[in-house]
Symmetry: C2
DNA sequence: GTCTATAGCCCGATAGAC
DNA sequence: GTCTATCGGGCTATAGAC
């Protein structure tokens, strides 16, 4: 059984990394935040990298669960899509720094770098499957030969729109930045959705952890 | 007149920052690369930040020139659009680290952070003007109420696709990554272009510094 | 299991000789 | 204008007392 201190180190590190970047958070700062000594951090983790690796392992499991959400045909594809988005949003909130701070991690050919290409590839395929299911259910009007392209652009927007908002200062113009990102990704295909389907999808979204203004 | 050593420091720093990130390049490493002592770097620049500020000033002038490229109506809009893209590509090649390494720069509310929001806003407006001009010349079929949305998505793709390629490992699958980014941005609107216009645009592109496979 | 003390490294930056 | 020498600070990591 993991000790309370160990658990607290991981939890606090995750929170601080997300708030202030991995590279800007020293082990001393983590120790101070939970009011233990820095040496105590070294007792549980041989180096800062080990701490990161433990969080990365958690992250990869969360990602796998998100990528497993697929349209089943029997259930409502829009509801499933909303669920997938809500899961992604939760992933950003808890593990956003893993996407954002990769440059801080150094150049070790680690687990994360090895798995990211497949994570993105699977994410693009997942999106394609969702849009294909929407077409099959007559909810979306889109040529099939441009589905992968659409899903790729959606992936890039979902991945980087938060950074774009931060850089362009629009993250401080009110509204939840993550909700803005979801809105932005809709702009890629909402004009091609059946109007009532779009209304329903946004209805489902509003019932999740995503709160559009 | 700027001394040769000073000029060489700036030039080498720019090259090294682009190759290895601002945060990973020490003043010692710059000095060694041009075979001068580190103290000599401090003679010309009081601190590393001054060196960055000088490059940033250069960068902001280059950006202003790019943003001034607008469709004139008399000239061929497609040719002008190709020229704007070529200028942007050159900007990425010479100053890419300024976009990429912002996290390394610290939290000073400096010139760059102040100007980025307007740079993006002007870039989006510039794109809108280009697509509007293409519509006016019957080269593009796109509803005007979705032009800003299109230009915003184009901006995000142009800005982040290189990072996406790096993260997803597709930058090593052959072809010039920058050319891939230009291709990716086309995917947002090329299906709505008049076929002969698209052919002409790509023709113009191939005559620039952008070499698609 | 938690602490204090400190080693060792790298970096940015300064002082001063030549 | 260019150099050597060195300082001070922050960080990761280790050793060892309790």
């Amino acid at each position: 059984m993991a000790s309370k201190t160990r658990t607290k180190i991981v939890k606090t590190a995750k929170k601080m990394f997300n708030e202030r970047r991995y590279g800007n958070v020293s082990t001393l700062a983590i120790a101070r935040e939970i009011e233990i000594s820095e040496g105590n951090v070294w007792y549980y983790f041989n180096n800062k990298r080990d701490l990161l690796d433990e969080i990365t392992t958690e992250f990869l499991e969360v990602v796998d669960r998100r990528l497993a959400i697929l349209p089943t045909g029997s259930d409502d594809v829009l509801q499933q899509y909303a669920k997938m988005l809500a899961t992604l949003v939760e992933e950003f909130r808890n593990y956003g720094f893993i996407y954002r701070d990769q440059a801080d991690f150094g150049e070790h050919a680690d687990e994360l770098q090895l798995r990211l290409p497949k994570i993105y590839a699977d994410g693009i395929e997942q999106g394609r499957a969702f849009y294909q299911a929407m077409i099959d259910a007559d909810l979306l009007d889109w040529p099939e030969e441009r589905l992968v392209t659409l899903s790729t652009n959606v992936t890039i927007i979902l991945r980087y729109d938060l950074e774009f908002q931060r850089e362009s200062g629009t993250d401080k113009q009110g509204g939840d930045p993550i909700a803005n990102t979801i809105e932005q990704h809709f702009s890629l295909f909402e004009h091609a959705m059946r109007p009532d389907a779009l209304v329903r999808l946004k209805e489902y979204i509003s019932q999740t952890n995503i709160h559009v203004q």
